[in-house]
Symmetry: C2
């Protein structure tokens, strides 16, 4: 049996903001597994901001996707044909499947899920890479202490929502930043953050200051831009800044105009003895089991909530991804590729 | 007996680069010690870049010096009158004496030196705050590993010279940056650095790149400015950047013109998983005894060399300090106030 495999390939390297014409939908045939491999049908496809970096030619911490190549992505899939001991037809797995309807990979490269079909998408969000990013960034760098103030932007998103809730579980105050009044209400009312400030508000800086009367001890950086600058002034001595993303800059084609804040950043680092430290979730692969166990427990206890934003059909992925970089999603963005 | 005490007070807050008219030489009378105090005659006065910060009104990690107040400074002094058990007339001490010929302070606030009179000035340099700054910055943040490349600017200066030599003692390569060919020769020929690049050279960036063929693992930041930017591009994954000063910016009156490197700094921190961390030597006061013992041992073994740049007379301090901010000194700058 051969399966038609629709795929989305990179048609051109985006200049600045990606356009739908930077992607092509093509049809191929799913490759049957060789020894040790599995063929899977994609159920859920994860769209995440880091993917913008892979569309550019510059080498980053991973190789760029080549033009004509299928876009990479974490996915949840169902095994349809297995030549790998330990995985059987019908098993649900999470792995690097890419923007396509079927994928054939080494069985050792995927993780079998013990989630049911209804909650399997969480393996791409709160119980996947974004949730783990929040967990390891706080555990290893942010280290929130009881009574401290933790600020995170994109607070209704996949990473930010988990950051704030873990901070609160650990006894800190959580102040979110989000891009609309509706998102801010969700962050406070549903997730329980102590406060959430809309960064599109003209009084954003002043409102953030009021929301952090004792300053900021941990700023979990995932946006950059004006939010970083507003936070910088409010950081307390010995504050920690785990840097996990700078979504505000992923479409930049050149450095922004001045003034140049370099000296202020260094001077603030010195005077306040800041720790600004970048990290990638896969630097902490040895903490994956611990993270997933802990996050699962918090979910089962009702202490960790999450929101998902589904779009339907592989062909919807490019437009959804373009929207993600502008904050148009509300919760973890997932493409439902098949049922 | 009353001693005339010449003092240098802050006459005006400098706008940008300090001028000699920002300082006044005044005459007072040395105050006799009360119970627990010592009266000391200043022998050596330390001039250090951090003092520029104290001349500005903005609160930093220490309170600013008020206009009309004596400038603060670490000094080596000789006890001339003691009402403190454990210190006697003739003892040499190091403490916060300020820019003046005599100072009266609690005996508990000074440290008795077991250095002879000829080498007592080292208590302000290699065996004082600058040497300790190098030691604790590398020990706690830089953590150079054998075979790694450590870069430090102001490499012939009080801190930089010690940074590079400790790095080499610990098995790393040391590459210095300095402001003249003569300083660079000293750094390589006398201090034994693997290389030293003149930052006034038009090919500075390219030469730095050639001097660091395996990239940079530790950048001990004490200058900021274009040197930081040149280094940023060469930093390796997981590089550490202890931030101990930004002398290039101490006279800034506004943020420099653009472009704005903020996003590039954050993005580099993320992609390279950098640790950028500010520190002050007094955050590590509990490591002072260890540092001085270790640095003393290295000096006695001939593995740690230093250079001092003496100027004579209290009245020379303002001009010498102004020159310090422009890199006119060559080695640790010390004012010989009395013999």
């Amino acid at each position: 049996m051969t399966q038609t495999n629709r795929q989305i390939v990179l048609a051109a390297r985006p200049e600045g903001e990606p356009k739908t014409s930077d992607f092509n939908l093509v049809e191929g045939v799913a490759r049957q597994p060789e020894a040790g491999e599995v063929l899977c049908r994609t159920i859920y496809l994860s769209l995440d901001p880091y993917m913008r970096g892979r569309m550019s030619a510059a080498k980053s911490y991973v190789e760029p996707v080549e033009v004509g190549e299928v876009m990479g992505a974490g996915v949840v899939g169902e095994v349809v044909n297995s030549s790998f001991d330990g995985l059987n037809r019908g098993d649900l797995v999470v792995g690097l499947g890419g923007w396509q309807e079927y994928f054939t990979v080494p069985g050792s490269s995927v993780r079998k899920l013990d989630l049911d079909r209804d909650s399997a998408s969480t393996a791409l969000g709160v119980l996947g890479m974004p949730g783990m990013t929040a967990y390891v960034g706080l555990k290893n760098i942010g280290k929130p202490q009881p009574g401290e103030t933790v600020v995170v932007a994109a607070a209704s998103g996949a990473v930010g929502s988990v950051v704030g809730q873990i901070a609160m579980i650990q006894g800190a105050r959580a102040v979110g930043i989000a891009g609309s009044a509706e998102k801010c209400r969700f962050v406070v009312d549903e997730l329980g953050f102590d406060d959430c400030i809309n960064h599109t508000d003209p009084d954003f800086e002043e409102k953030l200051r009021q929301a952090c009367p004792d300053g900021i001890d941990v700023y979990f950086e995932n946006v950059g831009g004006p939010v970083f600058k507003a936070v910088l002034r409010l950081l307390n001595p010995f504050a920690r800044v785990p840097v996990c993303g700078v979504i505000a800059h992923y479409n930049d084609t050149a450095l922004p105009d001045g003034p140049d804040w370099t000296s202020l950043i260094l001077r603030s680092a010195l005077v306040k003895r800041l720790t600004i430290r970048g990290f990638l979730v896969f630097d902490y692969a040895d903490q994956e089991a611990e993270a997933i166990e802990q996050l699962s427990q918090w979910i089962s206890e009702g202490r960790l909530k999450y929101r998902e934003d589904f779009v339907s059909g592989l062909e919807a992925a490019p437009q959804a991804f373009i929207g993600l970089l502008k904050g148009k999603n509300f919760g973890k963005l997932v493409v439902k590729v098949s049922s």
